[in-house]
Symmetry: C2
Subunit: 350 residues, 2 copies
């Protein structure tokens, strides 16, 4: 997708600035964990390798969620420091969810390194996730200021939504590809909003809540983040089928090989027509999809319009996210930076 | 241990009364989960079998923690209804911790039934635990009344302690049985206070917090609950070595066979003398302890004084718990019921 260089430079600078602002509190939060779970957390965050040495391999995440929290506070005219407890909480929750989701999905790789459960074992990885979750809520509950209780309610509501989204996703596995009981694109969108959108929405909302914004502003920012999440997930789904293995770190046609019910496939099946019917028959006929079959399936998804539909979904959701952002009264420069960050998040080759 | 029949009858009635009081809110909380995680939660709570049918096999827990929460509120002169959000939260946290601990400890049985991970798979069991934890904190954060925020802080602090206790326990596995780096009885006590005592202390404290008690009363009740937890854990440890398999549902000498570092063994090793030295050599020499060796090891633990030391530890901690309870100004009948419940919790054959 083409985006201006200006957006990109601005977003990169914002991410950097927010990481620096939040880092001391995030380090302190991880430091409050039991040393062993702290070691696993540092590995999961990309700060350390398995020997506990600093990891300079670029395994650290961009910190999109902490940046959204900081910009959420700045956008409602509050001090960026007000957002820090919320920024720490959403980063810890994000790390928790990656850790536990990798166990549930049996994903052995995360950011080109072995997943925590692969490195430390399943039991320890469960524990490390629990520790991150407890610290996320606990740290926010200890935050000073008049808005801490509202922030905790906001985060807890999101946790329930997030876990429910993961449950929906895992249950999709047991549903047929077509016919009665099949997963439609609309049901997929609900799942993705819960699993991916809710935490992005919560990140911006938390910044605004901690910054003392009125409910209507908080709600608009949260909605914007949810649409952003849907756009982000749509791009992820495109990359899951057509992404370059050198970039994604996963085999080509990865999601098809694993039989994942993602938006491009569901949209293709829902479209009807010859290619959709052939795709449905192919997917129902086998549980293991090897290289050549996966390539053929990917071609059928494309022919049935699944790739185009997902591109359109991504662009539509990004557009809605940006429009929703502008519904609320926000400080100009933070709104610009949010807008740049939204666009930057979709600025991958798809 | 001999206790009066009066205590027993009173405690049984209290547990029954509190289960009835809390049940509707607990059912409602589980009902807010995704149906699939709700099904696993109902199984874990002993409400349903794996087909989702009501389980009448007596698999439901006694609900000690919810009762402690209710009595905590009554003891500070508050309405028992004030405690309900706290009672629900501690029962959900307890269920979460059993669920995840069984994964980490590879325990296949829980209350004479297959553990959740054995029945539903590890991934789903991780998810169900996450859902219970999120609902526990989220439900409490939504509680009305002026003390909800303090209650959330209390619960979150306990969650961090609980997870840290589990981490300490898992790390004990990697320590030697004797010599430098060995786990001493005092370190074991700290672990047990975190892993077992903290949630019992939190249960009573939450009731008192929600009932609007002053900090000093809350602190005394929490301390009492922690000592109760240490007494309870000591009895559990005795049953883990010498318990009747028909009652515990575990093989005879279960903890010794699994090489668990529990209080009787650590106290025996710390006592020194011939039996302690022989025990240490035996435990260091092998990772798998079969029937005859386990019987011999149990005899050595007893000979070195480990069983007596653990009995004394249980009685001393129970005594401290009861005395701590009486340090705070409490309503008479609730204090009596708490006392009876404390005694009842140790009223097993050991």
């Amino acid at each position: 997708m083409g985006t201006s260089r200006g957006h990109h430079a601005s977003a990169t600078a914002v991410l950097e600035r927010c990481r620096e602002l939040v880092r001391p509190a995030l380090v302190e939060a991880v430091g409050r964990l039991h040393p062993w779970t702290g070691e696993m957390a540092a590995y999961a965050l990309g700060w350390a390798d398995t020997a506990g040495n600093p990891d300079s391999g670029g395994s650290e995440g961009k910190g999109v969620r902490q940046a959204l929290a900081v910009l959420g506070a700045e956008a409602v005219g509050a001090d960026s420091a007000d957002a820090v407890p919320g920024a720490v909480a959403v980063e810890l929750v994000h790390t928790f969810s990656l850790l536990h989701d990798d166990i549930m999905d049996a994903d052995a790789l995360r950011r080109q390194r072995p997943a925590v459960w692969k490195t430390y074992g399943t039991g320890p990885a469960v524990l490390a996730g629990d520790a991150l979750l407890a610290q996320a809520v606990g740290g926010l509950a200890e935050a000073r200021g008049p808005h801490a209780a509202a922030a905790v309610r906001c985060l807890c509501g999101t946790l329930n939504t997030l876990v429910s989204g993961q449950a929906q996703d895992l249950r999709f596995e047991h549903r047929p590809w077509y016919g009665p009981g099949a997963v439609g694109p609309e049901q997929y969108r609900v799942m993705a909003e819960h699993k991916t959108g809710a935490l992005l929405g919560c990140a911006i909302a938390l910044g605004a809540v901690l910054g003392g914004a009125p409910d209507s502003t908080v709600a608009a920012l949260e909605r914007a983040g949810r649409h952003l999440g849907l756009a982000f997930q749509a791009v992820d789904d495109i990359l899951g089928v057509w992404g370059d293995p050198a970039v994604t770190g996963k085999p080509v046609h990865s999601d098809l090989r694993q039989g994942k019910k993602t938006y491009p496939v569901l949209a293709a099946l829902a479209a009807g027509g010859r290619a959709a019917r052939e795709l449905g028959a192919l997917l129902e006929s086998t549980r293991t999809i090897d290289g050549e079959t996966a390539e053929h399936a990917a071609a059928l998804v494309e022919e049935a319009g699944g790739r185009t539909a997902t591109r359109e979904e991504a662009l539509r959701q990004l557009d809605t996210a940006r429009r929703t952002l502008h519904e609320a009264p926000l400080t100009y420069s933070a709104a610009q930076e949010l807008d740049a960050l939204f666009t930057h998040m979709l600025d991958r080759t798809w």
